[in-house]
Every structure is written in structure tokens, then in C-alpha cells.
């Protein structure tokens, strides 16, 4: 049986959503891992950093969480090639931990945005998008005040050139550079995205497209 871990920071508020979404989408077992823990469960195939307001967004979104003990274990797992997904605040944490490039700024319109977004799947060949098959579109929800992806022009060119832009907004809700909604690292095993697959994993939620992301991540385990 495949095994996933969801990291719980103080102020995470999508940790249980992630657990439910992964269990129902994939049948994997999901362990919750407290941010003070220094080890991940043995044989973990997927690590998810959930959305929320870790440490109350003190200093910068994700900045304090990036320094927490568990992140050393997450970073080491990423180096071993374990699949890691950071969703929303989890994406901010991955950027603050310098596991992914760039940063998330305050939304261009200064407003918290909570709505469904239509995404282009820019790279369908990643271990997080394989289950979408020939589809090049997905619908998920966003809920963020600081989801405005920023990186310098050279980094953006590199991300696009290397196929590291995975999801793009069709109608940019927050001012993100080049409409970027989600990126992977150079090795292709760490994904960060602002939209929530964990809030879009069953038709009853308005979209089941998020389930395919979790299925992709664990199918390659």
C-alpha cells in the first residue's frame, strides 16, 4: 500500500482536507506529521505540505514554517527523490525553504481571492500530471491573499524553458508572473501550486480534477 504524509504546522488549516482527499482519491494510507518531528514515516511515497496560515503568516507567509525541524526531513526526502507537493501555504513554505525558486507576493489587487479557476496543464509529462492523460485543462479552487508568484526574469525564462511550469491560470486571479499557478523543481519530484487539488477531488465539490494530481503522484511511487 502506498503511503503519504501530511505535515501539520501550527496554523495549517487544510491538513485534514489533504488527508481525506488523498485517502479517497488514491486509497493510500496517510500519516499526519507534526512540524516538530524530525523524521518522516519510513517508506513514505508522497509528502504534502497543506494550505493554511502556518505560524500566523508571521514575518512572511511560510517563513517560520520553512525553519521548523520537520523541514530538514522534507528537504532530505526531496533530495532522495520522494514526491513532495506544497499546496497554497505549502507552496509558500517550499519557496521560503528554497526547495523551489521564486516567492509569493501579496495579490496584485490586494484582495483575498477565493474561487474556482480554470488551469492549463502546461506540462503533462510530470509525475504529478501523468494521470490527466491527453487532457490539458483542469479546474480547481484558489483561496489566497498572497498567491502572486514572483521570480526574476532569468528564473522565469529558465522555468519555462525547462518545462518546470506545470499549471497556468487561464484568467490570472492574483497577478502571478506569466500566469504561473504551479511549478516543479529541476528534478521533477517537488511540485508547488496555489490552487487546491484537496478542495477539488470529488464531483460534489464542483470539480474532481484534483484527484488526478494525487493519483499521478502516487502512481509513480
Amino acid at each position: 500500500m502506498t503511503k503519504a504524509a501530511v505535515i501539520v504546522f501550527p496554523g495549517s488549516n487544510c491538513d485534514r482536507d489533504c488527508k481525506t482527499a488523498i485517502e479517497r482519491s488514491t486509497g493510500a494510507s496517510v500519516d499526519m506529521v507534526w512540524h516538530q518531528d524530525t523524521d518522516l514515516p519510513d517508506g513514505v511515497d508522497l509528502v504534502v505540505l497543506p494550505g493554511g496560515f502556518s505560524y500566523g503568516d508571521y514575518l512572511r507567509c511560510g517563513a517560520m514554517a520553512a525553519q521548523s525541524p520537520v523541514m530538514r526531513a522534507v528537504s532530505a526526502a526531496a533530495d532522495r527523490g520522494v514526491a513532495v507537493v506544497g499546496i497554497c501555504n505549502g507552496f509558500q513554505v517550499l519557496c521560503e525553504a528554497q526547495i523551489l525558486p521564486g516567492a509569493l507576493l501579496r495579490n496584485a489587487a490586494l484582495k483575498y481571492v477565493c474561487k474556482f479557476v480554470d488551469l492549463d496543464i502546461v506540462n503533462g509529462q510530470t509525475r504529478f500530471t501523468a494521470a490527466y492523460g491527453a487532457r490539458r485543462d483542469a479546474t480547481m479552487t484558489v483561496g489566497n491573499g498572497e498567491g502572486n508568484f514572483f521570480a526574476d526574469e532569468a528564473t522565469l525564462d529558465r522555468l519555462e524553458g525547462e518545462g518546470q511550469v506545470v499549471f497556468r491560470y487561464r484568467d490570472n486571479p492574483n497577478g502571478s508572473a506569466r500566469d504561473i499557478a504551479g511549478i516543479i523543481n529541476g528534478r521533477g519530484n517537488v511540485l508547488g501550486l496555489m490552487p487546491h487539488p484537496d478542495r477539488s477531488f470529488e464531483a460534489a465539490l464542483g470539480s474532481a480534477d484534483g484527484a488526478l494530481l494525487f493519483q499521478s503522484a502516487l502512481a509513480s511511487a
Binding site: L59, A63, P101, L105, A109, L110, F150, A151, D152, G175
Partner: protein, 80 residues
Amino acid sequence: MKARVEVFLKAGVLDVQGKAIEGALHGLGFGEVSSVRVGKTIEFDLTGDDAAAAEAQVKAMCDSLLANTVIEGYRVEVAA
């Protein structure tokens, strides 16, 4: 010793809070205002009495936590 760190968004990074404040100041009739940037100040005490060494330490703190150098710059002042 006392340390004072000012953290600002870099020049090329859009400061949407600054823009909103600038618009509000213009709305209040302060039309002479431009280029508003919002930052934060972090102050703390330090042990030791070597100001140069302390400044190097505070810069290391900025690079590792207090500022995100992807988007932010910082200024450090250390006083006895």
C-alpha cells in the same frame, strides 16, 4: 548593543500595499506623493561589544530568516 533592521521589497518588485497607500494619500489631497514603499522594522538587543562582528551576524540573520532576498532588500544598523 541594539540592532535595527529595515526590510523593504526590492525596487523591481511591485509593492501593492505602497500603491494602495499612495492612491489613498492622493485621494486626501496629498498629490505631491509618489513612490510609496512599505517595509518593516525589526529591533532587538545583542550581547557582545564588537559592532563590526555584530553587524556581520545581523546580516547573516537577514539572509537566513529576516528577509527573503528573492524579493526583499534590507538595511542594518548596530549601535552600542
